[in-house]
């Protein structure tokens, strides 16, 4: 039984060769900004790392307030390499969100959302929301002091939204307070609901990318080379992914994720409680907003502002159409983007130093 016969056998049943032929045709544009093309795949790779380590953790984790902390302690102390799997899972989550931001901003600045790629952008924003929710729900699962209070503060803020805020808060917490019910619910979101939605949206997102091919910025459209995806670009992707594994190993080694202290609902919140870094800029902004603006509650204004920003993000392709034809508008959007990045970076740093 040679590889040849095996190939023929599979081809007859799965049309492998037809698939291979189309795959061979896939080209990646090469120009000065091609480097950004790696970040989508990198985010996907890190997502896969999350799925694998997440499933492994699922073998031992127990989502109840009596057992959660102990089960994580068990993973870290008794299970072979449990400490490694757990640290990688926690670090990869952060890394993934970082690459996701880079990916999103690179697409934004290159205006790759331009027609016909609006839906790719929309599915991307949905994925941003999903990943951030993954992070928020996963953060509670170790049920330690820090995660308990971060969840309390986070859901408190969600409750500030006018009209539906309280309903949202109760939906998220599974009650009025953060309890074991919240933990079980977040677990359900984290391992079932969000992965299902993510599968759908990632599938859609990647499919649309294959359908439309890679976007080329206007100025390179006439003078760029091409590179075959298989094996050239893919092997470059691979180098990146191997290096990412290296970064994860280094992070797990040098900054192992702590177990912390078991959550106690009745203990006072530890001083200086902060959310994870990707929420920090919003958190810090809320702190700076005065308690009252005119007749409105300052916090409500802040939340509404961010919700508005999120909605604006979603509809950018429909507002900024054919940017080449409107260089002025294009500049406005670029400047807005730079301001946003600077704002996020500054606020995050301030949040850490505070």
């Amino acid at each position: 039984m040679t590889t040849e016969t095996l190939k023929n056998w599979l081809d007859e049943r799965l049309s492998i060769s037809a698939l291979a032929k189309t795959a061979q045709k896939k080209q990646v544009p090469l120009h000065r900004q091609s480097i950004w093309y790696y970040f989508g795949g990198m985010t996907l790779f890190l997502f896969v790392v999350q799925v694998v380590t997440g499933i492994l953790l699922l073998l031992y984790y127990r989502p109840s307030s009596e057992n959660a902390f102990e089960s994580v302690q068990f993973i870290m102390t008794e299970v072979q390499f449990g400490w490694l799997i757990r640290s990688i899972h926690s670090w990869s989550a952060n890394l993934m969100i970082l690459t996701l931001f880079i990916h999103m901003f690179s697409v934004y600045f290159m205006q790759a959302y331009d027609r016909p790629r609006e839906l790719t952008w929309v599915s991307g924003v949905a994925l941003l929301l999903l990943c951030v929710t993954f992070g928020f729900s996963g953060y509670l699962l170790p049920w330690n002091e820090v995660s308990f209070f971060a969840t309390k503060v986070g859901t408190d803020i969600a409750g500030v939204v006018p009209v539906v805020g309280h309903t949202i808060l109760r939906f998220l917490r599974g009650g009025d307070e953060v309890t074991g019910a919240t933990l079980t619910r977040f677990f359900g979101f984290h391992v079932a609901v969000l992965p299902a939605l993510a599968t759908v949206f990632i599938g859609g997102h990647v499919l649309l990318v294959q359908l439309h091919g890679m976007h080329v910025p206007h100025r390179y459209q006439q003078n760029h080379r091409q590179m075959k995806f298989f094996p050239n670009f893919l092997m470059r992707d691979l180098i990146g992914w191997i290096l990412a594994i290296g970064v994860l190993a280094a992070l797990a080694a040098l900054f192992p994720w702590e177990l912390g202290v078991k959550a106690d609902a009745f203990a006072p919140a530890p001083a200086g409680i902060k959310p994870e870094w990707y929420f920090l800029f919003m958190f810090q902004t809320l702190k700076y907003i005065p308690a009252r603006i005119l007749i409105f509650d300052g916090e409500v204004i802040g939340i509404l502002f961010f919700m508005f920003a999120g909605a604006a993000l979603l509809v950018i392709p429909f507002i900024n159409r054919s940017p080449e034809k409107h260089p002025r508008r294009r500049m406005v959007f670029t400047v807005l983007g730079v301001v946003a990045i600077l704002y996020i970076m500054v606020m995050t740093i301030v949040g850490y130093l505070a």
């Binding site: 694998v52 127990r62 009596e66 102990e70 302690q73 072979q80 390499f81």
Partner: protein, 144 residues
């Protein structure tokens, strides 16, 4: 030409072994991770305190229950009882007194009967009692 081929072959060989080694380095921890660890469960809700052969009648033995000490007592009539070994007075570790057939705390002469009830000295509360079961030769103590 020959040089390039040998270099290519060498590169392929190195790459192949490297890939296998890396995959091994990834799958080895994963396989070990999935194998059941030595202590099977997270919560120490039950523990094998001792073997029946280690505890003759009218004797006691201290055992570890999670991170707290417990005391296993086999009465003169052969009955097995288990209690928290933390004296309710000032947290000293109690012991079994075969002469008095009582549980005794050496720190301030606290006395408990074989129901864990505080019957003499300063202890203000009885010792917490745990259910005991036998599994073959093993004596298994559960949390209440």
């Amino acid at each position: 030409m020959g040089n390039i081929t040998t270099r290519r072959k060498f590169l392929d060989y190195l790459l192949g072994t490297s890939v296998v080694a890396t995959l091994g380095a990834i799958f080895y921890p994963i396989i070990r991770f999935m194998a059941p660890p030595h202590i099977v469960e997270a919560m120490q809700n039950s523990v094998v305190a001792a073997k029946l052969s280690e505890v003759p009648p009218n004797s006691g033995k201290i055992f570890k229950f999670g991170s707290k000490p417990g005391i296993l007592v086999r009465t003169a009539s052969g009955e097995l009882k288990a209690f928290s070994a933390v004296c309710t007075h000032l947290d000293c570790i109690v012991q079994y007194s075969p002469e008095k057939k009582q549980i005794w705390c050496a720190c301030h002469n606290g006395q408990y009967n074989l129901n864990g009830e505080n019957i003499g000295g300063p202890p203000p509360r009885p010792l917490e009692q745990y259910p005991v079961n036998k599994r073959g030769d093993d004596i298994v103590v559960n949390r209440a």
